[in-house]
Symmetry: C2
Subunit: 204 residues, 2 copies
DNA sequence: AAAATAAATGAACATCATGTTGATTATCCA
DNA sequence: TGGATAATCAACATGATGTTCATTTATTTT
């Protein structure tokens, strides 16, 4: 591949800058970070930063894109068969488990980027990804006339809900395993928020 | 009250600055805005800005706080009776309708602040508000042992989902009425995402 | 191992936004 | 109307930005 063609120093420098970005985002949020902060933390010359990135926004963008691409690679493993054959309440969707494992590997950056001092645009990108995945694999072959609500609002509901659960998982220290998280998500989505409270049986 | 004590000029200046903030957030996002941008757009002296705000973050904070307080005033109208007596599928919760009407009145700022170039911290504040409202009025008297998922994840799910629907409504031009939106939200939350697709009847 | 290539450094520079100050003008309110 | 105060204007120091160029250092290639 073309990876071999990249100079070791470039890889090293970029890695140090990206690590510095993650650390500083955790400490003070993205807005407050200066290029000087980044290069001091990474212990490189300030000019070197500009050899690799236009500015801090370019850096953030590239880091986000890397995460997004990692997720997209995972979605290739997902196929329609998986999604429809599982009931998802006793055995979690394998794909969702992989997803949470991937988030765990990249948790430092993701936690910072999805936190209150993070980047709203990154949230939006992830929601978009969730939307497409859900839509292409589950919702696309539904009849619009069967729907009790407009499909675009349903999609907005589901994708935001899932992202919100991921955010809460990251913020609360990732104590549940990826497997447990997949089960939790499946239960709420399949049974509905009210049903999982246990209220359902009393009223029906 | 103490409102009378405020000089007209202050009210005028603050209003112009806040309007400028909303416009510029729509145009280029909060991060890209400078104090100079704000004062040029508002057609006031740059120094005047600093008579009222510490910096642009202080300005944003104050605008957000105003919205939050407006919502909190609405929640005072909400009581337990309302929340539990309605089934919410034919008649919407009055409180939720008021809420969407309030969002409509402040849609310019809200759309900008909740959009991809907006402020992730504001999203978090709103989610926190939704969490508390839901929890205090509905979820607090549930038995933890009845729950099929941990309650904190359920709350994260619901609050993010609701915020996501609000965001989608704002971004898609607010074509549905507040009443319709309240019904849509109630249906998904009460019946569950899968049930509202119409798939439910075929499988149960 | 030596030569060629390319990345990183360090210093300097112009530019721009920031936040503050003091003097002056315009507006408000009683 | 007169006193109070908000807004303006000009000026200033500070610090971040993005760029340049000569130099040093690390790497790849031959």
């Amino acid at each position: 591949m073309s990876e071999r063609l990249v100079d070791r120093r470039i890889i090293r420098t970029k890695r140090m800058i990206r690590d510095a970005l993650t650390m500083l985002m955790e400490e003070k949020g993205f807005e407050a970070i200066t290029v000087r902060d980044l290069t001091e933390r990474a212990d490189i010359n300030r000019g070197t930063f500009y050899l690799h990135y236009e500015d801090k926004y370019d850096l953030l963008e590239q880091c986000e894109e890397e995460i997004i691409n990692g997720i997209k690679k995972l979605t290739l493993k997902l196929n329609l068969k998986d999604a429809l054959s599982f009931d998802g309440q006793k055995e979690p969707f394998p794909f969702i488990v992989y997803l949470f494992e991937y988030f765990h590997e990249n948790s430092s950056f993701m936690k910072a980027a999805l936190g209150p001092n993070g980047d709203a645009a990154f949230q939006e990108k992830l929601k978009e990804l969730i939307k497409n995945t859900f839509y292409q694999n589950i919702l696309s072959n539904l009849q619009q006339e069967d729907m009790l609500v407009p499909i675009d609002f349903l999609i907005a509901y589901i994708s935001s809900a899932n992202l919100g659960v991921i955010q809460h998982w990251l913020e609360s220290g990732m104590e549940k395993s990826p497997r447990e998280m997949a089960l939790i998500l499946a239960r709420i989505t399949l049974l509905g928020p009210r049903h999982v409270t246990g209220l359902y049986s009393k009223e029906k």
